[in-house]
Symmetry: C2
Subunit: 404 residues, 2 copies
């Protein structure tokens, strides 16, 4: 008789964004005349850049030609894309990488969730609180999180690193040393970042304790300040302790186009075994490459035109971020984020819970955001707004919020 993976049954049922969707749908039904503005989910809205569109058309034509058609892609991705990644995202920051340290994939969500495959179930996991739910859920599914305790809203075998106003939303070294540490900077959901010397301390901590850092840099393109690291490999010694994930979703609007990559340095060893080799094996056995035409689209992001056009998109969103941040501050809210990230993290007023504020904002301003408590217990009393809406909607939303 077959048996299911019981760890799945431990996952708490309701999911943040589906609850939001239900609440919004109910409000819309009851108030068909109200125009709702959504600043909740982290999905982009601007169309793909012209350089990307041109590259896609060209690649589609190749797929239709007898001599230019492409079958299975190389396991780790086409060399043209991996070369462009290394030259543009790393060499420019003084980081040298080999081609076989780059793994092209269909998304950072997949990579962040699948990376656990190559590690033992016995590892103790450290996550920030609040946190992007995929790190937690994927570890819960594989049995690393222990049991979910409804009263504390926490898994009993995870190490939580609170990110609160008091510590500038930056995690502190936990008392119990995690074997695997998930860090995401610029951060989702808080929009916070840490400086290079702070990240260096995490690298030193990991190397000293033989921990591995899973570094999610999906929002790297939004960094505007000079002393914020774009890659963890800018820190000394990171190649012996860190895996870095990057996505084309937020810097080039690929949320519905799907392309990402993960760096696993060959210097990252466990008892002499190369973690790079394990991920290569995983990639080769359980994945069959990203589509050729999408990889060509990714290459176009690194063309001169592509870089210019996608930088303009990021600037557009960051103009929204500035608007939200400054508008909220003006209205008396305590806000962070929005300077090196497309997320603004605000403290709910009058000691409202995150969900109370969600309802308040939906009902009174017809604006949808994301309750901070959905990202973990230390997100309670906070609220996330995103800069991915249109400028016009963002202006309108802020006007409504200011009038509350």
């Amino acid at each position: 008789m077959f048996k299911i993976n019981d760890n799945y049954l431990k996952l708490p049922g309701s999911y943040l964004f589906s609850t939001i969707a239900k609440k919004v749908a109910a409000f819309e039904k009851a108030n068909p005349d109200k125009k709702i503005i959504r600043l909740g989910i982290g999905d982009v809205t601007l169309p793909l850049a012209p350089a990307v569109i041109t590259a896609l058309h060209t690649a589609v034509d190749e797929m239709g030609g007898k001599n230019s058609f492409k079958g299975y892609a190389p396991d780790q991705g086409y060399e043209f894309l991996r070369r462009a990644i290394i030259d543009n995202d790393f060499k420019t920051r003084g980081v040298e990488l080999d081609l076989d340290e780059v793994f092209v994939s269909d998304g950072s969500k997949s990579d962040a969730a699948n990376i656990g495959d190559i590690f033992s179930v016995d590892n103790k996991i450290g996550v920030c609180d609040p946190v992007y739910p995929v790190y937690v859920d994927s570890n819960a599914m594989s049995g690393r999180a222990g049991s979910y305790v409804a009263e504390t809203e926490r898994w009993d075998n995870l190490i939580y690193m609170p990110c609160k106003e008091e510590n500038g939303f930056a995690p502190e070294f936990p008392q119990e040393v995690p074997d695997i540490i998930y860090l995401c900077f610029p951060n989702n959901p808080t929009g916070s970042t840490i400086k290079k010397d702070q990240l260096q301390e995490w690298v030193d901590f990991a190397n000293k304790n033989k921990s591995v850092i899973i570094y999610d840099a999906a929002y790297e393109a939004y960094i505007s300040e000079a002393d914020v690291p774009h890659s963890i490999y800018e820190c000394e010694g990171a190649k012996t302790c860190a895996i870095e994930m990057r996505s084309f979703s937020k810097n080039a609007g690929f949320t519905g186009t799907r392309l990402a990559y993960t760096i696993v340095p060959k210097d990252l060893l466990c008892g002499g075994v190369s973690v790079n080799g394990l991920w290569a094996r995983r990639h080769g056995t359980k994945f069959n490459g990203a589509p050729y035409i999408i990889q060509k689209a990714g290459e176009a992001v690194y063309s001169e035109e592509g870089k210019k056009q996608t930088a303009e998109q990021v600037a557009y969103y960051m103009k929204n971020a500035k608007l939200i941040r400054e508008g909220l501050a003006e209205a008396g809210y305590s806000v962070s984020g929005g300077i090196n990230a497309p997320y603004i993290w605000l403290k709910t007023p009058n000691n409202m819970t995150s969900w109370e504020f969600f309802d308040h904002l939906l009902e009174k301003a017809n604006v949808v955001g994301t309750p901070g408590s959905g990202f973990g217990p230390n997100g309670e009393g906070y609220f996330r707004l995103t800069a991915f809406g249109s400028y016009e909607n963002t202006v309108a939303a802020l006007d409504r919020i200011k009038k509350l």
Copy 2:
């Protein structure tokens, strides 16, 4: 200190296709004047159908438009594609499915490898021998296969179901009942199929024993005989015991375009728990949807034009298959497959091992095939040729083989 997943270290090192690639490269270097014909890897060669190319261009333009741009896709895939799948692949065969029983993904390799996530590590796995290596390797990685024994070339905790000439390359019910049974029909690598009444026996066996069948129907489009089932759900009771995987790779040439789907019926339960719900959770947490433009390409496969054009491609390859099968038989080889599948499985002559025949064919005919032993110990003494080459190359290869 972090720990790796030790199961990865049990995997035997060298990989079938990389060994082939090395041997071919060495031969090419030593014999630069010889023109090698590759009938080895199961990769398609015809360009994407015109209807698919048109759909891709249209979808690319949508991604470049302010009001038609698409961000994150629905978790399980766009409804237009799932609807087309149900109407064309199932309703036409008398199988009713609900929309939420269809999960669109980036490939059957991913699905076949990832499906293990939702099952306990304690399940006993049954696989055919020879077998598509992904079923074995993915279970080995998760610890279900036990240890690899070099002498027997087998994992000590798998149940092997030999597929040999004596049983028409169809597996027989194993003495020890597997909890999870992987079946692939039409089969890779043997090209064999089973009739509907034979598949019904497997469904009955699974239901009786509360086993689950992972049914890989990637080569369904190549079925030419009337009594061969296209879907396992044509069998009575299959919805309570079977998961079916389908791919766009071989029926529409999507190996480098990446699209597939998996059916998990809501009637498939384990102790009252819906397996469909588990896979939905896995899909939602560890995957972020197939690209919009690729899903539109998949939809076009089901258009009138698309069906006609892709059927012509399949016919083209099957003409090759016939050529290989009949040519080899004429030359005195014992062959099977090639009637309902693009693979021809031949018995090596003169008691040669699979690799001896590989070398023989490479050196004397400059033709590359795949040694049967690479798919499992019961593949020893067999050899796989594929119908995915060009017609001209297939003719030339057969001429050379006949002259041996």
